[in-house]
């Protein structure tokens, strides 16, 4: 096996056997299995659903679930590596062929990969580390009517509640701004937006 695109590490031995078994599936069966796989990749939280669909596939096609799971594990190695390395569909196809999958099936999978990769890339980017991510912002503003030192005040205040994710916990931060501060804050945030947009 030559150099693979999706990984630099040696591939487990079982993979060749799994690819051989995959080649035994009809085009229709392979297409159905691919659909199940991509649905899981684009919605990685739906583990229950994925396992159910795999089990249904096994039953309908008279394949034992155990071996099927191993085959699926082998297949998934490629898209996971491909995502990390921004591989093109050509490279994905080449890798499957190198692993022993038939040309027809490799091309089909690569096609599906092309279709789904924008969604998958967005998911991967979304998982990237963020420090103290701002989750939510609530606000209220009002008028200070009076205080113990000033009978009549009539000044506007703005209160922000920022919900920040620190590690795995959420923390609330309360801040008060005067009106000039608010306008200055708004102005700065608009500048940030312009800056972010010029880099997108």
């Amino acid at each position: 096996m030559g150099l693979l695109n999706f990984t630099r590490e040696p591939v487990p031995e079982a993979v060749s056997a799994d690819m051989h078994n995959l080649n035994q599936l009809s085009a229709q069966q392979f297409s159905a299995l691919t659909e199940v796989l991509f649905r899981f990749l684009t919605e990685p939280k739906e583990v229950e659903r994925f396992l159910t669909q795999l089990s249904d596939f096994a039953t309908m096609n008279k394949i034992s679930l155990g071996p099927l799971k191993n085959i699926v594990k082998s297949i998934l190695l490629v898209p996971n590596g491909a995502l990390k390395r921004n591989l093109s569909s050509e490279q994905v196809r080449a890798d499957f062929i190198a692993l022993g999958l038939s040309e027809e099936k490799a091309s089909y999978f690569a096609e599906q990969w092309k279709v789904n990769s924008p969604t998958l890339t967005r998911l991967a980017v979304g998982q990237t580390l963020m420090i103290n991510q701002l989750i939510d912002m609530e606000w209220k503003f009002g008028v200070t009517a009076g205080s113990s030192e000033l009978e009549k005040v009539g000044s506007i205040f703005l209160q922000l509640k920022l919900v920040v994710k620190k590690g795995s916990q959420l923390e609330n931060v309360y801040v008060e701004l005067t009106l000039p501060q608010f306008y200055s804050f708004l102005h700065e945030m608009e500048r940030v937006k312009t800056s972010l947009e010029s880099f997108s």
Binding site: N132, F182, Y183
Partner: protein
């Protein structure tokens, strides 16, 4: 907040013993700015300059504190309003001097009162920076812009006295979060304009 008491105006007449008008002015400012708890020490410091007993100094300082704070509380701005506070038999020149000093300082005092109002922690400064994320463990090559926003927040001034605690909070915002935030801020601005135009 202090209310004017009967004995206050009698105590104020002690100011006639002050060495100069500037001394009176200085004392007025110190008495306004001092919190009630610090009036005792202030009286002790003022005592020698006025050539009065410790007790008289205390009563004077307390009376000046009450008078200045009362004027600020009521929001009196006109000379007549302030003059009207004094009883009829009060020393004419002293009354005019005190009124003049109060009028000179009233807006600064009002700002001081507003600045030391109780409030939630206040924003004192903000800085931002835009980074481009180029790589991570989940994806080796990317170009994702992100914003880091640092807010400097000061705890309630009244609780900290002379050493306000300023904490810095750095938050990260994705482009989507920023857009949502701007939407919210825009809505605040629209509502503020609506209120201002009423």
């Amino acid at each position: 907040m202090a209310a004017l008491r009967d004995g206050d105006f009698a105590a104020l007449q002690t100011l006639l013993k002050a060495p100069s008008k500037d001394a009176v002015r200085q004392l007025c400012q110190e008495c306004f700015s001092s919190p009630p708890a610090a009036l005792g020490p202030l009286a002790q410091r003022a005592c020698p300059g006025l050539a009065v007993s410790a007790e008289e100094a205390e009563q004077l300082v307390s009376a000046l504190h009450n008078l200045t704070r009362h004027v600020v509380y009521r929001g009196l701005t006109g000379a007549e309003d302030i003059l009207r506070l004094f009883p009829e038999n009060f020393h004419q020149n002293l009354k005019n001097l005190l009124t003049k000093i109060i009028l000179e300082n009233i807006s600064a005092w009002r700002n001081e009162a507003q600045a030391s109002q109780i409030s939630l922690p206040r924003l004192v400064d903000m800085d931002w920076r835009v980074d481009i994320k180029t790589s991570s463990d989940s994806i080796v090559r990317m170009a994702v812009p992100t914003c880091l926003l640092q807010l400097k927040i000061q705890e309630d001034a009244a609780l900290c006295g002379n050493n306000p605690v300023v904490s810095a909070l750095t938050v990260e915002l994705s482009k989507e979060t920023l857009d949502t935030m701007l939407e919210g801020l825009g809505r605040i601005r629209d509502q503020l304009s609506a209120v201002a135009n009423k």
